[in-house]
């Protein structure tokens, strides 16, 4: 896996990104497309039509064996044993001290076979932690991050574009589920998951086959208005959808409760799991900070690292912020002291040498219109 001091890895689609004129950027140890034509245009295409993303930097870790479900229950905060075959769950892997090591999606591919998808920047850390936590159990941990690529298609037209390319019956694939099938003639896993707030799919295939998946999706999607989308718009899309990003909203100094994700910490499950004692204490003590949404009411954009004030008191810090392409207003996520986390609270954001007014608002900032999908969550 990529280490910080290695040269960045190239995705299997690097030639295609270059041909499309993408601006590339290093992210999580990989050279990835930041944008093709422009972040706002790509963002709007995903909201109105569809976008095709290269997410080959994500880590894919397979866990297989008779102990797989129970051992993952020890390593993670959720209960993979409760997943039905073909279903997925959002999960966390925490440090023994209770902080977040990474947020993950766990897919149950078969009774004794799981796939864990981790963030690129953390894939090697998660892989090492799983190896340690799963040691001694009857299972095989197979880190296929470098052998496996991932292409996502997201947006209201995602199903219409993908359906003709696969033998899978996509309307029968609910939100947060996965099926083994074929896409553009290559064997693939197709999951109805994503990171944009839209309906959509993630297609996981061998590195050698990924180009055919990418080409087929763009060929079928372009006449319908689909475009390739880079990490720039991926970030603005997930921010509007109120989804956390590791390194911004999540990290070792933050518990899942503070991030508003206590629902993925199954304190009621049987047996020990890594971080249990610390997370039980954190749950009992209450959060030291809470993640909130902010709408900037004055002029300016609140960015990662900007401080938040109530009067003269520093009460928090912005974790992510941008101009929302959908709302046409600056939006942000921030950690604030729990007593100031109520929606409607007016705070100040320190933007350069000015204090700019902002309001705590419920998240998400954007919710897709109902009934654009057959997904049954």
């Amino acid at each position: 896996m990529a280490q910080a001091n290695d040269a960045p890895l190239a995705t299997p689609l690097a030639d295609r990104h270059q041909a499309l004129g993408a601006r590339m950027v290093e992210f999580g140890g990989w050279m990835m497309p930041l944008q093709y034509t422009g972040i706002i245009e790509e963002h709007r295409a995903v909201r109105s039509k569809a976008g095709v993303f290269d997410l080959s930097h994500m880590g894919e870790l397979y866990v297989e064996g008779p102990d797989a479900a129970a051992a993952l229950g020890y390593a993670l905060t959720t209960e993979p044993a409760n997943l039905k075959v073909g279903r997925a769950q959002y999960s966390m892997i925490c440090w023994p001290e209770g902080g977040v090591m990474d947020d993950l999606i766990v897919y149950r591919l078969d009774d004794e076979r799981f796939m864990v998808v981790a963030n690129a920047s953390n894939a090697s850390v998660v892989s090492d932690a799983l190896a340690e936590r799963l040691a001694g159990s009857h299972l095989i941990l197979d880190d296929r991050s470098l052998a496996t690529g991932l292409v996502a298609i997201q947006g209201p037209l995602a199903q219409a574009i993908l359906a003709p390319l696969t033998g899978l019956a996509l309307p029968d694939l609910p939100y947060y589920s996965i099926a083994q099938g074929d896409v553009a003639g290559v064997p693939a896993l197709v999951a109805r998951t994503g990171y944009t707030g839209e309906d959509g799919f993630e297609v996981i295939a061998d590195v050698a086959d990924l180009g055919r998946v990418w080409d087929a999706l763009l060929e079928a999607g372009t006449p319908l208005g689909a475009v390739p989308v880079g990490l720039g718009a991926r970030d603005t899309l997930r921010l509007e959808a109120g989804m956390p990003l590791y390194g911004n909203e999540l990290g070792p100094d933050t518990t899942p409760f503070e991030a508003g994700l206590g629902r993925v910490v199954k304190l009621g499950k049987e047996g020990d799991f890594v971080g249990r004692a610390a997370l039980e204490k954190a749950s009992a003590d209450g959060p030291r900070k809470l993640l909130v949404g902010l709408m900037v009411r004055g002029r300016g954009i609140a960015r990662h690292g900007y401080e938040i004030f109530l009067g003269d008191r520093r009460i928090g810090v912005v974790t992510s912020g941008t101009q929302s392409p959908t709302l046409g207003q600056p939006i942000a996520m921030a950690y604030v002291t729990p007593s100031e986390a109520e929606p409607g609270t007016i705070v100040d954001v320190g933007i350069r040498d000015q204090r700019v007014s902002a309001e705590v608002v419920p998240m998400p900032f954007y919710r897709r219109p109902a009934k654009t999908t057959d997904a049954r969550a």
């Binding site: 930041l34 944008q35 422009g38 972040i39 706002i40 245009e41 720039g232 603005t236 002029r299 300016g300 954009i301 960015r303 941008t322 101009q323 392409p325 600056p330 350069r352």
Partner: protein
């Protein structure tokens, strides 16, 4: 296509000199590098600015960058349209995307600006 009759800075700004007035904007190279501009903060009219001082802010979706005064003098006008249409910096950087006008206090300071040949040499290295 970079206009011939302008002067430039290393910070990728252009300057059009007409008498003692300097009209200032960012180059198409800068606009392209920034990406979609979503916010512009300009100095107040009447403010006296020093040459190469940071006088404003340009924000794209991803990045924040300073606007520098290519010449010293008094700010006599700013492009108010940019407040509601910051995207003009991307669509027409040398035209409707102009940012401010400065009454030049010291004409000899213009020697510190680049001509087209020097600016193109700068961007071709980038």
């Amino acid at each position: 296509m970079v206009p011939q009759d302008l002067r430039y800075t290393k910070e990728h700004e252009w300057v059009r000199i007409e008498g003692d007035l300097a009209t200032v904007g960012i180059t198409d190279f800068a606009a392209e590098q920034l990406g979609d501009v979503v916010f512009v903060d300009l100095p107040e009219v009447g403010r006296t600015v020093a040459q190469f001082a940071a006088v404003g802010v340009i924000e794209s979706v991803k990045a924040v960058s300073d606007l520098f005064a290519p010449v010293g003098g008094d700010v006599v006008e700013t492009n108010a349209e940019l407040t509601s249409k910051p995207e003009l910096l991307n669509s027409d950087p040398f035209g409707k995307g102009w940012m401010l006008r400065i009454r030049i206090s010291d004409p000899t300071a213009l020697d510190g600006l680049l001509d087209l040949t020097a600016y193109e040499a700068l961007t071709s290295e980038a």
